[in-house]
Amino acid sequence: MSTVAVEAPSLPEVHYLNADYGWRSWLFTTDHKRIAWLYLFSITFMFAIGGLAATLMRLNLVEPSGLLFEPASYDKLFTAHGLVMIFFFLTQSIPTVLGNFLIPIMIGARDVAFPKLNLLSWYIYVLGATIFIISLVTGGIDTGWTLYTPLSTTYANTNVLSATVGIFITGFSSILTGLNFMVTIHKMRAPGMTWFRLPLFIWAMYATSVIFVLAMPVIAITLALIALERIWHVGIFDPGLGGDPILFQHLFWFFGHPEVYILILPSMGVISELVAAGCRKRIFGYSFVAFSSVAIAAISFMVWGHHMFLTGQSVYAGLVFSALSFAVAIPSAVKVFNWTATMHKASVSYDTPMLYAIGFIGLFTIGGLTGLFLASMGADVHLHDTYFVVAHFHYVMVGGAIMGYMGGLHLWWPKMTGKLYPEAWARFACLLVFVGFNLTFGPQFILGYVGMPRRYAVYPAEFQVLNVMSSAGASILAVGYVIPLIYFAWSVFKGPIAGPNPWGAKGLEWTIASPPPTHNFHETPIVTEEAYAYEPEAAHVG
């Protein structure tokens, strides 16, 4: 039953955006949809900071001797880029914006389980981000986002302390968000909404929340230990006092590797939705895709040592980590194959969300496969800490996570605002992102293979051509990210009215008005069918 609007749609008279006015109605709101907006604004701001740092870095690398900065400043730039993007943008991006907005609606609830806690999470995030930004503008931090000891505890003389305090605080925002989502998904589902009727986005968000709850506390205590060591020099990571610097890496990566799945899993969930909506088809092998999310979350906790093959970690521990790292590739492969199979004999739309989904599937495949190089200990001996690693995780984080986030924003923007964005501009921006992205990070695979180490402010002259290509790509990529900012803002005021279901997609969120009313549903919905229950034309006509 496709309900593509025929008559001119109109906005509902009362919806969550106009139910109340004034800054109080936003800053003290407990409506999950408004909290999603609060996050959207704050993380876009952080993305701008992280993006600016990236732009300056790429600009600097145009010259082998550094175009703009001394190494000291360059080091602060890449540290700021990494920390901002990981802890203040990607971790929040899909969960707090799309997750907050959609989870209650998709499961047929009025709100998340703990709306006040939800708002509190945002305030904690803002507090942490503010402290972090202050530490950046008052001198920055130059340890790399991995904060390896003893560099971060003893030798760095930048604002390590205030930056770690900022991240520490933000971590609690994520813990509370994860807890909130888990309880919501468990306890707030509408009648009839069984686990296997849930949209795959919910499965992915659930897996992500599990990681939030289990991994984030560990980074919190680790950062606390860094602070302790820095203030009192107690020796926990200082070999001179009997400490073990590699223990820090264990603690860090026990959090750090699940963290990268926090970044990619939600995006996988979004892609499932985009592919289903863009193909008007049930996702091929629903239960395999659902369980692969859970499998990824579970295995992700046991692979952290593949970041440490060359640190002097035990070869035997390395073997275990390597084997498990290969194992985590399999559920990811299963997802990719299933998305591809979904497109078989489908009705593939060329709307922007589907274009992002197609981009994601390809780029994530490359990102995932190059991960095999780094999961294998033998290949890691040469590729570790080179630009190959940088290229690999950007294919996953940018080509994967951010493509998914952008695609999701485009799919649900009409739902969030009730307005349509200009489709032509959106497709153009998507193309720019795809081209710019590949030009930026493709050459970095070669750079890494040739041997250029990451985090180099200056580099041997023979690497220049590839670096210039990469920087050129980055400028295209930057334009690709600025254009949506402009047309999204435009669409809120001038965009055509979208109607409740502009894509003819399935799912509870498309059954309610756009923008939705404050409590989402006028009556608690009763779910009687599976997710993506598209009905073929024949049935429709008959």
């Binding site: 496709s2 593509v4 190494p71 080091d75 991995t146 390896y148 560099l151 030798y155 070999p239 001179g240 009997g242 590699i246 193909c279 008007r280 088809k281 091929f284 092998g285 629903y286 060359l310 640190t311 002097g312 390597s322 084997a323 290969f326 399999i330 492969a333 299933n338 591809t340 199979a341 497109m343 004999k345 009705s347 593939v348 739309s349 060329y350 599937i361 495949t365 490359i366 496969l369 190059t370 095999l372 294998s376 200990m377 033998g378 890691d380 001996v381 040469h382 800490d385 080179t386 040739v450 041997g451 180490p453 985090r455 180099y456 041997p460 220049q464 051509v465 003819g504 598209y534 073929p536």
Partner: protein
């Protein structure tokens, strides 16, 4: 390979590099194959099954169990093969041959300090003869560094408080990049050097041309005297400490009942933070702060020079 304006291939200058590249090519082939497959299918489906009418809904299907199993098991099989292959390769890189020439590396912010047992010392340079395995024993004075040589396809973190080892057999004469691959602070990108691989004759010539060299063991012996180690560990010392002749490589019984092998790492710990050896009073003070990492290595070289474990006889200097 200078077909393009930029290098696409690092020099292949060690025995491991050949094997490594072979593995890398296979991985690359797998990556290209699957990426092309997925891209190809996605684009093909996107074009062939494009939406033709605005409210078209395609026929639905649930999935296909054999297909699901196929694309679970085939990648798993590939992963198993790759895992075994890569692990074998890795273990080779981790176990230096016994006849390797030893070179000692101490990293500090931001330079590489190299000592050859024969005496020459270098900074940010390492001269080695072609065709002979070289084993590096490395440690750091401050933060974690990483000794990486792209042309040899080897690298290893250099961690303070630990001796890490790395080995390679250079196969091509030439000069190659040495990079610090682990971010180590402001001067990270300046912590680079050159590995000079020379013909054996040239290498001998180079060794001979180094002026005023004193072998590491001799330096160690001088330090041994200066630090007063003789007082307890020397011959006929009044307050006897454990004798050091022929100690290297033997088993040592500690006061806590454990037995450890007297290797480089044990000796380093014994100098910097002595543990009681069974049968002797624990009088030895710590030398932490009095000797730097290079000097510790010289002391170890001296103790090592006092004879191999088999012959427990006094090596008279």
């Amino acid at each position: 390979m200078a077909l393009l304006f930029f290098p696409i291939h690092p020099p292949q200058a060690s025995s491991i590099a050949v094997e490594w590249d072979y593995f890398f090519y296979v991985l690359t082939a797998i990556t290209v194959f699957f990426s092309a497959l997925i891209f190809g299918l996605v684009f093909y489906f996107a074009i062939k099954y494009r939406r033709k009418e605005k409210d078209e809904v395609p026929p639905q299907n649930e999935g296909n169990l054999p297909l699901e199993l196929a694309w679970t098991i085939i990648p798993a099989g590939i992963c198993v093969v790759l895992f075994v292959w890569s692990s074998v390769l890795f273990i080779k890189t981790q176990r230096p041959p016994a006849n390797a020439t030893e070179v000692f590396v101490v990293a500090k912010q931001w330079m590489w300090k190299v000592q050859h047992p024969e005496g020459p010392r270098e900074i940010n340079q390492l001269h080695v003869p072609v065709g002979e395995p070289v084993k590096l024993t490395m440690t750091s004075e401050d933060v974690i560094h990483d000794f990486g040589v792209p042309a040899f396809r080897v690298k290893k973190d250099v961690v303070p408080g630990i001796y890490s080892t790395e080995w390679f057999t250079p196969t091509e004469v030439g000069e190659y990049h040495l990079f610090c691959d682990q971010y180590c602070g402001t001067g990270h990108s300046h912590m680079v050097g050159t590995i000079v691989v020379m013909k054996p004759d040239d290498y001998e010539h180079w060794l001979a041309s180094q002026m005023n060299v004193q072998p590491m063991a001799e330096r160690g012996q001088r330090l041994f005297g200066q630090l007063g180690c003789n007082t307890c560990h020397g011959e006929g010392a009044k307050t006897p400490g454990p004798p050091l002749q022929g100690l290297y490589g033997t088993e040592v019984k500690l006061q806590n009942g454990q037995t450890v092998t007297a290797d480089d790492e044990y000796l380093r710990n014994a100098v910097l933070g002595p543990q009681g050896v069974a049968g002797y009073p624990t009088l030895m003070p710590t030398f932490q702060g009095q000797v730097n990492e290079e000097e510790v290595l010289q002391l170890i070289a001296y103790i090592k020079s006092l004879g191999p474990p088999e012959e427990r006889k006094v090596a008279k200097q």
